[in-house]
Symmetry: C2
Subunit: 158 residues, 2 copies
């Protein structure tokens, strides 16, 4: 028999090669632009911003432009059920606030961000960068981004 | 040199093997239980059901239990901004209705459902089965399910 040459068996299956590939994708490769509002805007204005920008999650910043809170559609829907005038309630009253915010950084693995979304049962994470006194919001990573990754990987026939 | 035997070069890379694997996953392998409301319940009650069941999308059914509409958090948030009393407005007024509903079936490829979510910019699809006069809702597939698939594939070291 002729020797087979030129092909190496790496001991790795397709699945394993894939999971290695997936582990090379970073948050920054798929992150979206963040939409932020000031902590003093009203719940009504925040809902309008959410519709205008067509996002499911808003990030709330303080006077120093540092991350102060997160507003999901669920938070805003809950607030809208109340009896208050939504023009009178500032978002800092209803937001999820620091230090209870799950965050990620742009060089984190995408798959770690995906795990956080599942574990914390949230729709989006702020992508942050350490600032002098807090965290600057530089991106947004969502379950939509994760769905897009899956679609692109399925197309990937290289 | 000794011949290398027992290993076959298939001509396929890890990515290609993976995309083949991904193309074997069906909607039924990851679908969730659907939460449905009758088309005559009020918007207020629908919002309460959404919180109680902790889902982002409700499916609306008619008297024959066939799919009649879809309600997203966005639809309910929009309605809650209006001046109407949410107890007085039935969901069939605000829902996305047939035939404008994007659906899938349990034996569809998961990746096709993911593509529909991205293309239509929606959070969930009803998984349906043809009934006598319409479609029975038998499941729900969401961007959360897609995120979970990604996490599980990354864990997959077989």
């Amino acid at each position: 028999a002729r020797p087979r040459v030129g092909y190496f068996y790496t001991g790795r299956s397709g699945s394993e090669l894939f999971s290695q590939k997936l582990k090379q994708i970073k948050v920054k490769d798929y992150q979206s632009i963040p939409v932020v509002v000031d902590e003093n805007v009203s719940v009504y204005d925040a809902i309008c911003t959410m519709f205008l920008e067509d996002v499911g999650t808003l990030f709330v910043v303080n006077g120093k432009s540092d991350l102060a809170g997160v507003l999901s559609r669920k938070d805003l829907l809950r607030a809208s059920l109340g009896k208050q005038d939504l023009n009178e309630v500032p978002v800092h009253i209803i937001m999820t606030r620091m230090p209870n915010i799950t965050m990620c950084e742009k060089d984190d693995l995408l798959i770690e961000a995906a795990q956080k979304l599942i574990e914390k049962q949230i729709d989006a994470l702020p992508v942050v960068k350490k600032s002098e006194e807090g965290y600057e919001v530089i991106g947004r990573i969502t379950k939509t981004n994760m769905t897009r990754v899956l679609v692109e990987l399925a197309r990937d026939e290289r």
